[in-house]
Amino acid sequence: MPHPVLASPDLIRFEGDTPHLVGSRCDECGELYFPATDSCTRCTATRMSPHDLGRRGTLWSWTIQGFLPKAPYDSGETPETFRPYGVGYVQMESGLKVESRLTVADETQLQIGMPLELTLIPYRTTGDGEVFTFAFRPSASA
């Protein structure tokens, strides 16, 4: 199966059809970054290596985006068609917290500490089809 068209392909690495988040790791002090950077704001080193951040985490904080963002948001929605979406920080196994869209936008279904896993969701439709971005969805285990 071909992989979906991504808003930013650099953020994702596929193991088979399973997406993983890719960031970077400081060669000097080991600090992790998402997205990948070319310098370390912790120790000021400039040698970084790509790093697989995995695909599982727990919900660290969350909100629900209740209004249509202005540009540069480019989902193509209008105030009439806009549907609120969840946003959270997801604590990965390393402890790094990644800001992400959530597949859930129902406040009764979101709880700090709940296990989540990475998925890809369409957030925009162009003439050529759907464009996907990364998101986290509830999972059975962390």
């Binding site: 808003a7 930013s8 953020l11 960031g23 600090e31 992790l32 970054y33 998402f34 997205p35 704001t41 912790r42 660290w60 904080s61 969350w62 909100t63 629900i64 985006q65 209740g66 209004f67 963002p69 202005k70 540009a71 540069p72 948001y73 480019d74 989902s75 979406y85 946003v87 959270g88 920080y89 390393s94 402890g95 790094l96 917290k97 990644v98 800001e99 992400s100 869209r101 406040e107 700090i112 957030y123 925009r124 971005t133």
Partner: protein, 382 residues
């Protein structure tokens, strides 16, 4: 010991919406009012620092005030622009490079939430395009986590907003001058839960200006000079939880507000318990609650009780945002931090009318926070 600096002139063009005035015109009105308050002319000003986010270059004010040839430095530090302008003006007087300095700010923002562009902030395009780069999201995410860690409930979020509008109703210059019921706030539209419509301030318009000089000569110009005991700006450290962060480090570091506040108290030689009246950045209810503790005015989690017991009211032990804060005044970015200082000066001069704190307040405090992680703190003394 560097010499003390005093504020001898304050001027405000009320915040709100003013369809017939440019942002710069509002800045000019505020600056002329501050000069009049100080009893000096523009030609006497030796250096000026000013900022505007959406209303043009601040030094264009010279076209209104007069082309005197003075050094006029444009300041652009997000919501902390006013605090940065003031800290720079104080440093200029302390260094002896000018006898009179001006800090001025004005703005005029489009309606609705701010829409920053990722590249201006060193961030990739996808961060904005996929709907993650909103200041309101950050405030909600930080508030949600803080509530979880420190046992703060939605009750406190409502009470902060209710007090802001109650104080705004006492302030003839406030934008929002209508008191709101608990239910009206608690049931208002969810913007970014846990934060709702009336728990957020709005981008607005307005102007604010200060005139400063060495403290030793201040009484020649104003009968009630206000001494700037500290004016400190700090930026974020690696690991602090800041706006526009696609990820947060595993190990957290204190916010720039914490480091700015500690440095200011140390400079001034006083502590949080000595402060009689204060302004805290209230972009939203949650931020004010977090800032109460980050600035050292209470323990984390203690806010719930302080708010419920009325301790942060005008007549309370810890009067916060007596003019209604950002919630009741709106936020013209360039002017907002200076509005805070003007309110504290007004309180210390005991000229705040219906919103005047009781007794004879001696020490005041202001705190501003802005993207992408800048805090400005001042400690002011009558």
């Amino acid at each position: 010991m560097a010499q003390d600096v005093a504020i001898i002139g304050i001027g405000l063009h009320p915040f709100g919406r003013h369809d017939t005035l440019t942002g710069r015109a509002q800045g000019a009105i505020a600056l002329r009012a501050a000069l009049k308050d100080a009893g000096i002319g523009w030609e006497s000003v030796g250096i000026a620092y000013g900022g505007s986010h959406d209303a043009g270059n601040a030094d264009a004010l010279c076209n209104d005030l007069g082309l005197t040839g003075l050094p006029f430095i444009n300041v652009a530090n997000g919501c902390a622009t006013g605090g940065s302008a003031l800290a720079s003006a104080v440093a200029a007087i302390r260094s002896g490079s000018a006898e009179f300095a001006v800090a001025v700010g004005f703005d005029k923002h489009p309606r609705g939430a701010f829409n920053p562009h990722p590249r201006d902030w060193g961030l990739p395009d996808w961060y904005g395009e996929t709907g993650l780069m909103l200041t309101t999201q950050f405030f909600a995410l930080k508030t949600r986590r803080y509530m979880h860690e420190h046992g703060i409930t939605e009750d406190s979020l409502v009470r902060v907003a209710q007090r802001a509008f109650r104080n705004g109703a006492l302030n003839p210059q406030a934008w929002r001058r209508r008191e709101m019921s608990y239910a009206e706030i608690a049931e208002s539209m969810p913007v970014n839960l846990p934060l709702r419509q009336y728990m957020f301030c709005n981008p607005a318009e307005g102007g604010a200006a200060l005139v400063l000089c060495p403290a030793e000569v201040a009484k020649r110009y104003h009968p009630k000079p206000i001494i700037v005991k500290a004016a400190v700006v700090r930026t974020r450290h690696h690991g602090s939880f800041e706006v526009f962060s696609p990820a947060l480090a595993a190990q957290q570091a204190p916010a720039p507000t914490v480091t700015a506040s500690r440095a200011a108290f140390e400079q001034a030689g006083v502590g949080p318990r000595d402060i009689d009246v204060l302004q805290l950045q209230d972009t939203d209810s949650g931020s004010e609650i977090i800032h109460m503790a980050e600035n050292g005015f209470c323990e984390h989690g203690e806010q719930e009780r302080l708010l419920r017991d009325g301790e942060t009211e005008i007549g309370g032990r810890l009067p916060i945002n007596t003019d209604g804060g950002c919630l009741a005044n709106g936020e013209p970015i360039g002017a907002s931090g200076l509005r805070q200082v003007i309110e504290i000066c007004t309180q210390l001069r005991q000229e705040a009318g219906a919103r005047q704190v009781p007794g004879t307040p001696r020490l005041g405090y202001t705190h501003v926070y802005g993207a992408p992680g800048v805090s400005g703190v001042t400690i002011l003394q009558r």
